[in-house]
Symmetry: C2
Subunit: 242 residues, 2 copies
DNA sequence: CGGTGAATTGATGTCAGTCAAGGAGGGTGG
DNA sequence: CCACCCTCCTTGACTGACATCAATTCACCG
């Protein structure tokens, strides 16, 4: 039994814009099922032409690319509400892979009906573009981090953005949140080695700014952390939910 | 006197998908004018809510972000056919700035009519999303470069991508193209220092792989360059032109 | 012809990568 | 029940790629 969109647990979160009844009904028709996957399951593959698109309903994951040399670059973390497979839906090929880090539940949409969404409900098409523009915005910021910030700034930036996204989703209560990733994931996201990431996390812990262990992220001093990260405190703007 | 879309010099290039007559007519209505700017002119500012959107018609530029510390991260180079201001059109705020590197001519569109495009011509809305997805794809690759490749690989990657884009636009003839940027622009794009970028370019020159001086980029051995860059040779796929 | 911006090169310093080893926890099978 | 293994985290020692500093050259321009 799948969750009807009407009772989707994401709808009422701060992170997302509210739905009209008509939109709700339309999305319900667009949705073709639900997928549950275990931790570690590949969801989308770079270069593949996936027949299905997803919205993350529960659980967390990573988007990443592999180099020919076998190194991994994490592009972004996947949180509930994230839309997966846009590139396969629009162009014919994913630019990155997606993998579940925890067990996940995904809303499933059919790629064949994706175009209908633009044709029949242009507002939703606009929303899709919104999401793509948001992603572009975020990747630009990530680029600044990899290109210009040192390790301490980069790790601080990542933790701040994670906590802010968590807050908008009700996962972060101002002090702590569940954060079930490995240090290697963070290292691969920031282009740092595992060892140096570990040592940088220690610095933040010693300064009582942030402590992350056993899958739990605690923020000790958000103000100072934001300062080191070079970003403004405050939640991200509301975004559409597909 | 502005160029009518029908006689747009970009239309016939390999880089772009062909237009139907109806699309052409629609775009013509969407276009409100043309803007000519000198080299060095700021076109869009990060954080601003620009009232106008642009398509680059002639000339080159850079998209970039500045850190609070004043460092610059170049997000991407602007070539003819690039659409500028998507983020301002969709969300209300640009995530980066855009500046003209050479003199440029820009098609001007009105932000207020942007939504009409989705409503009245969903195919074009779809195309906009296509562009956003392409950009996301490219930024992901850039992330891999900054995060995982060393200086030689990064510079090689950048030169390959530049030549490939140039080729699709008829600017690169298989051997060379005009490339009127400064070494500092490339350095800021790759997160390298100017000095190290210079020394890396020298290495490529000594190995007869690529030489760039006096605004002219010559590719000596595209095969080997692609190998160092870790990418496949070959042109980018056709994309929509807005 | 002084002044400015860009490219170039050498000398020196440092941040982060690599190598190596050890510890803690969890699962599995003898 | 305990020995073994595997994954992840942690820490120290050493190395190296790239940053920084500094000086020179050249082209262009008012």
């Amino acid at each position: 039994m799948t969750t009807p969109c009407e009772r989707c647990p994401l709808r009422k979160l701060d992170a997302f814009r509210s739905f009209s009844g008509a939109e709700l009904e339309f999305m319900q028709r667009f949705k073709v099922g639900e997928l549950k996957v275990d931790a570690g399951t590949p969801i989308l593959m770079e270069g593949s032409n996936a027949p299905q698109l997803y919205t993350a309903l529960r659980g967390m994951g990573v988007r990443y690319k592999l180099t020919e040399a076998g190194e991994r670059q994490v592009i972004n973390l996947v949180f509930p509400g994230d839309f997966l497979g846009l590139q396969a839906g629009i162009m014919r090929e994913m630019g990155h892979s997606v993998e579940a880090t925890t067990a996940m539940t995904l809303c499933v949409f059919d790629r064949k009906t994706f175009w209908n969404l633009f044709r029949d409900q242009p507002e939703r098409g606009f929303d899709i573009t919104w999401l793509a523009a948001m992603e572009e915005h975020f990747l630009g910021e990530t680029l600044v981090t990899l290109g210009q910030r040192d390790a301490l700034g980069a790790v601080a930036w990542a933790l701040v953005r994670i906590a802010q996204r968590g807050q908008a989703l009700g996962l972060f209560d101002g002090r702590q949140m569940e954060f079930p990733f490995r240090q290697q994931d963070l290292a691969d996201a920031l282009g740092l080695s595992l060892v140096h990431t570990n040592k940088t996390l220690r610095k933040l812990r010693e300064r009582q700014l942030a402590a992350w262990s056993d899958g739990l992220l605690r923020i000790g001093d958000m103000e100072k952390l934001c300062e080191i990260a070079g970003v403004e405190p405050g939640p991200p703007p509301q975004r559409p939910l597909i």
